[in-house]
Symmetry: C2
Subunit: 129 residues, 2 copies
């Protein structure tokens, strides 16, 4: 694994962007960042880990919600500075209750981005304090 | 359009990451960066423009290859700090001749990322000097 991770062009903060995609229907679920540790854990555990810039630490996707992302494929791009992970998604990927974080769409003339998806879970009951 | 672009969380360099996806088969084609000018041009012209960090300027995707990306949908995510554009792709999105830039796959035990796609055009004939 080390040789392959060495090939990636980690940025000045040791990160690369990562796109997580539903392997079954192609839906783009979330864009996040990963570092070497998070990508190692992703490959080793078969579940997506990311580096959370807001929390300043590596985090298992789904650690609070139990909506895990089960890794089916890990790819990189021509420049090797981005990663694409194809997954089976439990529940929803978005902390706002949607399957995908990309639930807002541009529409000409609208005063705000239009919500074009329906929630698949209730964040209030999933993220209990 | 201004009101919607104002909602996006442009980073310190005025950029947000953009994922370009084939609207027909869901294939993730490329991950790039856009700035306000590039996204305005994308929406106005119906073709994807990006901000090229290496060239330090806004660029029409396909300006050299004529492999344009025709915009069908523009989305943003929950945090409004990433953009997803669904397109009809002419030719291939990757300057190395592949339809998608994500043509390399992780395989356990391999000594390098495995090329798992076939080129769809010859870069030498498309990018003539």
């Amino acid at each position: 694994m080390d040789a392959l991770l060495d090939k990636l062009k980690w940025d000045a903060n040791g990160l690369v962007p990562v796109i997580v995609q539903d392997v079954e229907n192609g839906q783009v679920l979330v864009m996040a960042y990963t570092n070497r540790e998070a990508l190692e854990k992703t490959i080793e555990t078969g579940k997506v880990w990311t580096y959370s810039r807001s929390r300043g630490r590596v985090a298992l996707k789904g650690e609070s919600s139990a909506h895990f992302q089960h890794v089916k494929e890990v790819r990189t791009d021509c420049d090797q500075d981005a990663v694409l992970i194809k997954v089976i998604q439990d529940g929803g990927a978005c902390h706002e209750g949607y399957r995908s974080c990309f639930f807002r769409k541009y529409e000409a003339g609208a005063s705000d981005w239009n919500v074009v998806e329906k929630p698949v879970f209730d964040p209030k009951s999933v993220y209990k304090k």
